[in-house]
């Protein structure tokens, strides 16, 4: 897929480049720094001379490279952006691709390719322009193009297709490899073995159909599909037909249109791969304000040199507009996704702990910001100016230090808080509740022992597992045993508390039946140190399953259970009661976090129940229709993982900003009692809070926009600490800078959370419209202000937002925003809640699942195979594919899967023998099996939820479920395909521009 696109692109892109270029694009594309290095590395003598140049040069004007060709050259900022030369017509789309990242291009192999590319590009562009009949399009510069162009122009014409084809054909050569699996291994070294298209083109210019009048939705069609081969023809043909129909973009286009060439439109896979190729495995130092970090999907080593690692904070843009007018104009959300406790890989430095003893952290007198690299020391080190509020403070005597010749303290590198973006302070008593040191935290396990849970063995399972899990309670690295105390409650219609004091011969059970006004019946012996009370606890866990074996109690209570847990620490989309709401608030007030494992077999009102975990910073796990033999592994993994997680308790987060803007809205598993303090009863390494910023004044390009996120929390050993993350962003009065610095993954995270939050108050339709409108608006603004003029029919995307449409479409199709009959309200509430606490990496995977071909596995490789786009067209009867989105994992088996693979993986003789009623792959000692299981392990790793594996055989009923995850396709129950959506957005943009 991507490959083709890739190939195709260049030609098209050329025009764009020309167009857009001017401004330096940081990001992927034009950005020198960025691109440059990768490029260099990857490719020696890049065919693309220009790029290289660009690289060298500062962000200045983009290299004239191929891109410039474009007639559109006008595009200002354009470079990065991808434009789709929109002509609805099939072909155009493809063209847009081209501009991809420099690296990509460079990677592109052969010189010849370059040339050809350019040419093609020009042609295409020309074509596009024309094509869209809109007439707007200026002349096609491309030499070859003209003809095609002409043909294009008149969309309706049947010939178009044919024309396109040729074009596509032209392009194809290089790409081929990329394409299908079968593709020939041409490419230059750059290519990944898998044939993934190399570097994706930076700018995606798509020419999208839409003339206002003509809705083409469908129109897009694939022109370049050369590769697709057979389909192509059909597509093209259909295309024309579709065209006229114009109207419903989504709906309209009949099958044929669908066929529209996916490869020609920006591919998330390509974008990811390109970033990986250019930045993966490198050291990313955070020494520069406003630099754009690698994508979340790219593995690299992050070195804290004064700004917080992107593992902790990711922003929707790393360059804020200077004025609110600008911000309004662009409508790009200014937000940061903060994951304050993100796990740091072992090869990176853990956070330093600063201890100022009784005097506590040094803070600005006015705004209370904590000492950080943004503080400017003056007057020989006696005073410092706060980078946030500009207040000049005296340096406390104990903290005094002389300055060196460049005005830096001599101890600059000795003190983490002066030189690092992230670090921790030991908090003094002033930071503790009621000025008392906190108690060591506690885990209270509350087990539902009602009839069904006993009967299906769940209780036994849990009790058995707890014995293991308790051995692994989180602890401070230097300590021998965990300071976390544990307590146990079981409940059905009533609550049972257990006294497991270490000196008891046997556990004591205390039943509380007054569920209307629940309380904790014991003090001593309820929360114990696991090691000390181990034998009593084991005794208890052994007994619990039998104890309730006679229970025929079906009713269960829930709120009292949590309330009880909370007391111990002192101790529907629209939630139907406010019981849980106020309960959750109480929990937070007492620093009690609730994690919920639900095993519903019917409607349980997740929306209401889930409120508690959400507001208390806990986690919600849901196992619908739990079946012991299928689901226990998933549950156990979740349980273990949840207990072993790094976690902070009783946390309050405060986000401070430099003058000119401020945090206005917060999304996540949080509770806010005022407008600034984000309260979380607990926060673990997987939870992220998304913060939106708004201007309240002008920002200056010089001082930039500074963010300090401080989290006051209690460690697992009961120490009160402050965790500080600092991040400096650039500011610019140029819209182009803003667009260059955006990060789509973070944007989607923000959009998802804000939309999911709005779900409670607004109709879904309205929310979807707002999202579409804003998407269009952002892109229109770019086109209007940053891109060089181009035909209206062209869809022009900023480089940094190339994949925004596809991701946005995924978001819009998510069951939370698009209610679907086969998805229960509970499930929607569940997913909604999950997303609310997701970090960028999780939301990226959640909305755009990873689809890996397994049948082409290189059993010797230890890396993941290259992903393919989530579209049915990528599947093949002879293939096996693994799909994962962070919650579910599917293994899709084509009807003609290679028997040796079947044998290898399942240890059965044939496809027909595969039993799909399992969630575990057999442990076969064969390389296929091992490799596949290893891959699954890698995918699962770092994901907060254990994914349940579903085996799907092609053409069997369960495939329907699987298909819902092929997010580029049209949904079975609604939700447009990627292509359709692109058309729709294009149309919106055109309307806006008119």
């Amino acid at each position: 897929m991507s490959q083709q696109g890739y190939v195709a692109t260049p030609p098209y892109s050329q025009p764009q480049p020309g167009i857009g270029l001017s401004p330096p694009h940081y990001g992927h594309y034009g950005d020198p720094s960025h691109t440059a290095s990768p490029t260099g590395m990857m490719k020696p003598a890049g065919p693309l001379g220009p790029t290289a140049t660009g690289a060298i040069l500062p962000p200045g004007p983009p290299p004239p490279g191929p891109h410039q060709f474009g007639q559109n050259g006008a595009h200002a900022t354009g470079h990065p952006p991808q434009r789709f030369s929109g002509p609805p017509p099939v072909n155009n789309v493809a063209s847009s691709y081209a501009p991809y990242q420099p690296s990509a291009q460079s990677s592109y192999p052969t010189p010849m390719s370059t040339s050809s590319v350019t040419q093609l590009g020009s042609q295409l562009s020309a074509m596009q322009i024309n094509s869209y009949g809109s007439g707007m399009a200026p002349p096609s510069q491309g030499p070859p193009g003209p003809q095609s162009a002409t043909s294009f122009q008149t969309p309706p014409r049947p010939p178009q297709p044919s024309i396109l084809q040729p074009g596509s054909q032209v392009l194809p050569p290089p790409p081929t490899k990329l394409n299908g699996p079968g593709a020939s291994p041409l490419p230059p070294p750059m290519y990944r073995p898998d044939g993934l298209a190399g570097p994706p083109p930076p700018n995606a210019q798509y020419q999208l159909p839409p003339l206002p009048g003509q809705t083409l939705g469908a129109g897009y069609p694939p022109q370049q599909e050369a590769n697709s081969g057979p389909q192509m023809a059909g597509t093209q043909l259909s295309y024309p037909g579709g065209f006229p129909g114009g109207p419903a973009q989504m709906a309209g286009p009949p099958q044929p249109q669908k066929k529209l060439d996916l490869d020609s439109i920006p591919s998330p896979i390509q974008v990811i791969e390109n970033d990986r190729a250019s930045r993966g495995g490198q050291v990313y130092a955070t020494n520069t304000r406003g630099q754009i970090p690698p994508l979340v999907t790219t593995d690299c080593i992050i070195q804290d040199q004064g700004n917080a690692s992107p593992r902790f904070i990711r922003c929707t843009t790393y360059c804020f507009p200077c004025t609110s007018d600008m911000a309004k104009q662009a409508q790009i959300p200014l937000a940061a996704v903060i994951k304050p406790f993100a796990t740091i890989p072992s090869n990176e430095t853990p956070l330093y702990l600063v201890n100022h003893g009784e005097s506590g952290p040094v803070r600005c007198n006015r705004c209370k910001a904590y000492m950080c690299p943004f503080m400017q020391f003056i007057e020989g080190g006696r005073r410092y100016q706060c980078g946030f509020c500009n207040c000049v403070n005296d340096v406390p005597p104990f903290y005094f230090q002389h300055l060196d010749h460049i005005g830096r303290r001599l101890d600059h590198y000795e003190k983490p808080e002066l030189s690092l973006g992230s670090y921790e302070y030991v908090a003094t008593l002033d930071y503790c509740r009621k000025n008392k040191p906190p108690n060591p935290p506690a885990f209270i396990f509350m087990i539902d022992v009602s009839y069904s849970n006993i009967k299906n063995g769940l209780v036994k399972l849990i009790c058995e597992e707890l014995k293991t899990v308790l051995e692994k309670l989180p602890k401070e690295e230097q300590e021998e045993m965990s300071a976390i105390r544990v307590g146990f409650i079981t409940y059905n219609k009533v609550l049972h508390f257990f006294n497991v004091k270490s000196n008891l011969a046997q556990p004591q059970m205390m039943v509380v039946t007054d569920v209307g006004e629940v309380f904790v019946p014991l003090l001593d012996g309820f929360l114990v140190n696991y090691q000390e009370s181990q034998s009593v606890i084991h005794n208890l866990l052994d007994q619990i399953p039998d104890m309730f074996a006679d229970s025929n109690e079906n009713e269960t209570v829930f709120a009292p259970v949590i309330q009880a847990g909370m007391e111990a620490l002192k101790i529907l989309f629209q939630p139907q009661t406010n019981v849980y709401d106020s309960l959750a608030k109480d929990c937070v007030a007492h620093g009690c976090s609730v994690t919920l494992f639900l095993f519903p077999s019917q409607y349980v009102d997740v929306a209401s129940l889930g409120l508690v975990p959400q507001l208390t910073g806990g986690t919600l796990y849901k196992y619908s229709n739990f079946q012991m033999h299928l689901d226990s592994q998933q549950f156990l993994n979740d349980l273990r993982n949840d207990i072993e997680k790094k976690i902070g308790f009783d946390a309050i987060m405060r986000v401070r900003t430099s003058t000119g803007f401020r945090a206005t809205d917060f999304f996540g598993g949080i509770l806010m009692n005022n407008t600034t303090d984000v309260e979380m009863a607990a926060i673990d390494c997987d939870k992220a809070v998304t913060v939106e910023f708004k201007h309240d004044d002008k920002l200056s390009e010089d001082s930039g926009a500074l963010i300090q996120c401080a989290v006051l929390y209690t460690t697992i050993s009961g120490q009160r600490r402050l965790r500080i993350h600092n991040l400096g962003l650039n500011c610019s009065s140029q819209l182009a800078d803003l667009y260059k610095s955006c990060e789509t993954d973070a944007l989607i995270n923000f959009f998802a959370k804000s939309a999911f939050k709005a779900v409670l108050h607004q109709p879904l339709k309205v929310i979807r419209e707002i999202l579409v409108n804003q998407t269009a608006h952002m892109l229109a603004c770019y086109r209007k202000n940053c891109a060089s003029p181009s035909a209206a029919s062209q869809l022009i995307l900023p480089d940094s937002m190339k994949v925004l449409p596809v991701y946005m479409n995924c978001l819009l199709k998510n069951c939370v925003l698009l209610s679907r009959p086969e998805i229960s309200t509970d499930e929607r509430a569940f997913q909604r809640q999950l997303v609310m606490t997701m970090g960028v990496a999780d939301s990226q995977l959640f909305f755009y699942p990873q689809l890996l071909p397994i049948h082409t596995l290189d059993v010797k490789s230890t890396t993941l195979p290259a992903a393919v786009r989530c579209s049915e067209s990528r599947l093949s009867e002879g293939g096996i594919f693994l799909l994962a989105n962070g919650l579910h994992m599917f293994l899709w088996l084509g009807v003609s899967s290679p028997p040796e693979l079947i044998q290898g993986i399942f240890n059965v003789p044939s496809f027909a023998h595969i039993n799909t009623d399992t969630t575990l792959l057999p442990e076969v000692g064969n390389p296929y099996s091992q490799q596949l299981r290893m891959i699954m392990g890698i995918i699962q790793q770092k994901r907060p939820y254990s994914m349940k594996l579903t085996l799907v055989k092609q053409r069997e009923q369960p495939e329907m479920v699987f298909r819902q995850f092929l997010v580029e396709d049209k949904g079975l129950y609604g939700g447009s395909s990627y292509v359709d959506f692109l058309c729709c957005v294009h149309k919106e943009i055109c309307q806006l521009l008119n």
Binding site: Q506, Q508, M510, D550
Partner: protein
């Protein structure tokens, strides 16, 4: 004929009855003029080793409103096999079983010596006795330890098939499930929330029949089907479990900050205990035994807040209406007591603490249900330990000296009506023709419920003569009263004890001497005292004293022999001679005087006074004083300061205390160690004699008295000094030449002064 004294004694021994008058005035007016009401002290279960119960059931009068039991006073027509009820004159056919009846072949109940007889009821399922321990855990460590040991020990004393249960409380209330293996399980309740019986039963899961469980394992039908078995288990089955459980009992773990009392949920704990039994074993003999070490400080029934700086209410507070929680708490416990009584269960209160524990508020629980009330300083004292142990003593038959769920039914012949009863009972509100409208004590009924009783439990029962003065009862007639006590014997049998007595009527105008001679001044003193104490519960102390004084004066006026206005001429006959002295001591007794007693102590004393038999009651009113000296064998001496001599050892028994007091010289000798010298072995014996005698009393008494061993000048000597008649005080003592005695520093009047005034008032015509 024997003297009245002998007659009275015989009657008491045979029937457990002592009447104030043994010849009854024949008209209402005359009876009123007698001042002391016609009344009796009844000890329903007086031990009668010589009286084995008969193995059949009583024959009842067939008149539905009468149902009197066939007795020796009935006229029997042996030929017609008929008997006439002596109360309603109904003629009744003997049941078929009595077919062989004849003058020479009489059933026991017709023989005069069986005026008291006990029947055994064969019908009805026997249910085991139930003991529900309600244990306070807010105790000091050693106290709790001692209590735990006592409780563990008690398990071995309980009847093996008795059911036993355990509730513990502190800040929370825990109902322990006893049947579980491997894990000890309890149901916990908040100590601040009052619950209805229904709620409690719901929460304990007592309302749902255990049918599903049964279905699940039909294998064990012999098990108690009742769900309640989870909380109440036969001792023999779970004594090991329970012993362990008690052993593991910990002090209430909730922290008590400085300056606070522990939070103690006595009110809720009792409420749950009551609710538990109510739901599971209504109308079965059951004891709820409350062990508490301090006042209830939270929830319903709280008596004092947890702030230590605010002390628990005193009499002073109560008089000033400053006892914030008293009324509400009293109401709570009264409600519980009434429910308990209605279910036939009784509540014992064992309160051991240095400060008050709220007995004032809780007294009704024991008073209305016939439970015991024991007050001590600590559970770690022999007073508590032995008292507690004594509850489980057995009689000559090897049966426990306790009975349950009794109803006392009183029937009178037509000339009499029942005015009321005073004792550990509640009214069953059975109205009838023989119930008077004038109430004395708990009246308005002819039946009372006594949920817990033992062989000494004694009720005062008050009567009224019906006949008007102008229609007196014909001479020579006899009035009759029948007491029918149905109860559950400690062997779990249902039994019925029937006592039928009769006394002669006499015309008070013509036969006053006769009546006078048949006056039982001891019984009368106790009966009057009960009335006084009963009134004192609801009236101001001085009013009660005035009322008592007036009664005494009127009695002296009626029965004294004197010349008007000449006090010196005043004489009382033998049968009245001691009565004024009883009244004198009664006036000073803690039953009527609250001075120097806490409200709890008053409640405690009154509780015992209202249930003990005549002898014990008299000791309470007028303690017994024995003197030991080299001059002769021990002798009873006057309860007077003049008896306090330097060379005497005194032994005083006030019922609640046993005081041994060494006179000044004796104390010096002992200090000098003479008792250890072989040549003064007689002195050693002298010292030992009162100790032995005291031991004897201590062994027999329930509750175990406080044992005080003191000497001249000792601080504890106050117990003696406050009791003796202050014939010598600082006001009159220093007259030289008076030989002996110890002056009492008091402004109380002495008996002599009292008598002088009494005579003066009696002879004065002003009254």
């Amino acid at each position: 004929m024997a003297t009245y004294l002998e007659f009275i004694q015989q009657n008491e021994e045979r029937d457990g009855v002592r009447f104030s008058w043994n010849v009854w005035p024949s008209s209402r007016l005359e009876a009123t003029r007698m001042v002391v009401p016609l009344a009796c002290l009844l000890t329903p279960l007086k031990e009668r080793p010589d009286l084995p119960p008969v193995q059949y059931e009583p024959v009842l009068c067939s008149r539905p409103t009468c149902k009197a039991v066939l007795n020796p006073l009935c006229q029997v027509d042996y030929r017609a096999k008929l008997w006439a009820c002596n109360f309603c004159f109904q003629r009744n056919q003997f049941p078929p079983a009595y077919g062989g009846i004849s003058e020479v072949n009489q059933p026991a109940e017709l023989m005069p010596q069986f005026s008291t007889i006990e029947y055994m009821v064969q019908r009805g399922a026997q249910s085991p006795l139930i003991f529900l321990y309600v244990v306070d855990t807010c105790l000091e460590e050693d106290d709790l330890q001692a209590l735990k040991e006592s409780l563990q020990m008690s398990l071995s004393l309980l009847p093996p098939d008795a059911l036993v249960g355990l509730i513990t409380f502190g800040r929370m209330v825990q109902v322990h499930e006893l049947s579980c293996e491997g894990i000890s399980k309890s149901y916990v309740f908040r100590g601040t929330k009052d619950l209805t019986a229904k709620q409690i039963q719901d929460m304990l899961g007592l309302t749902k029949p255990a049918t599903p469980m049964q279905q699940a394992r039909p294998a064990q039908p012999q098990e108690h089907p009742s769900v309640s078995s989870r909380f109440l288990q036969p001792v023999h089955k779970i004594d090991m479990n329970l012993t362990d459980l008690l052993g593991e009992l910990q002090r209430d773990p909730w922290p008590v900050t400085q300056g606070k009392r522990p939070l103690r949920s006595t009110g809720v704990a009792l409420s749950i205990a009551v609710g538990l039994l109510e739901g599971t074993f209504p109308n079965t003999g059951a004891r709820i035994m409350l062990f508490t070490g301090g006042p209830p400080t939270q929830g319903p029934g709280m008596v004092v807040g947890d702030e230590l700086k605010i002390p628990i209410r005193s009499w002073h507070d109560i008089e000033k209406d400053n006892a914030r929680f008293m009324k509400k708490a009293t109401k709570h416990y009264e409600m519980l007591a009434n429910r308990t009584a209605a279910n036939g269960h009784c509540i014992d209160i064992y309160a051991c603490a240095l400060d008050q524990t709220g007995l004032l508020e809780m007294k009704c629980c024991a008073n209305l249900t016939g439970g015991y009330m024991v007050m001590g300083d600590s559970f770690n004292t022999s007073l508590f330990k032995q008292t507690f142990q004594r509850i489980f003593t057995k009689d000559f038959n090897g049966d426990f000296r306790m009975a349950f769920g009794a109803t006392l039914d009183v029937k009178t012949s037509r000339e009499l009506k029942i005015a009321g009863a005073i004792g550990p009972c509640v009214s069953l509100n059975v109205k009838g023709p023989c119930v008077s409208e004038n109430e004395l004590g708990v009246g308005g009924t002819s039946q009372w419920k006594i949920c817990g009783l033992d062989p000494t439990s004694t009720l005062g029962i008050y009567f009224e003569v019906v006949n008007q003065h102008n229609a007196p009862i014909p001479q020579g007639g006899r009035g009759a009263i029948q007491f029918v006590t149905r109860y559950q014997h400690s062997s779990t049998q249902r039994r019925i004890r029937v006592t039928t007595i009769a006394r002669n009527w006499a015309d008070a105008q013509t036969q006053l001497r006769h009546i006078e001679a048949a006056f039982d001044q001891e019984a009368a003193a106790v009966l009057m005292a009960r009335l006084g104490v009963f009134r004192a519960e609801s009236e101001e102390g001085p009013d009660v004293l005035r009322w008592l004084d007036r009664q005494l004066i009127r009695l002296c006026q009626k029965f004294g022999q004197y010349n008007k206005e000449d006090p010196a001429s005043f004489r009382l006959s033998d049968s009245f001679s001691l009565y004024p002295q009883f009244m004198f001591h009664l006036r000073r007794s803690p039953f009527l005087q609250v001075f120097n007693n806490s409200p709890d102590e008053s409640s405690y004393y009154r509780h015992h006074f209202a249930r003990q038999d005549l002898t014990q009651s008299l000791i309470m009113i007028q303690p017994i004083l024995y003197s030991y000296s080299f001059h002769g064998p021990p002798e009873p001496v006057l309860l007077d300061s003049s008896s306090i001599l330097a060379d005497r050892i005194l032994l005083m028994d006030t019922f609640f205390q046993i005081v041994i007091y060494l006179g000044e010289t004796i104390a010096q000798w002992r200090k000098a160690g003479y008792q250890d010298m072989p040549e003064y072995e007689n002195f050693k014996h002298l010292l030992q004699a009162p100790l032995d005698d005291a031991q004897e009393i201590l062994q027999a008494r329930f509750p175990m008295p406080r044992y005080i061993n003191t000497e001249h000048g000792g601080s504890q000597a106050r117990f003696l000094l406050s009791k003796v008649n202050p014939s010598q005080t600082h006001n009159n003592h220093y007259a030289w030449g008076q030989e002996t005695g110890a002056p009492i520093l008091t402004d109380d009047v002495s008996l002599q002064v009292f008598m002088d005034h009494l005579k003066k008032l009696a002879v004065s015509s002003a009254c």
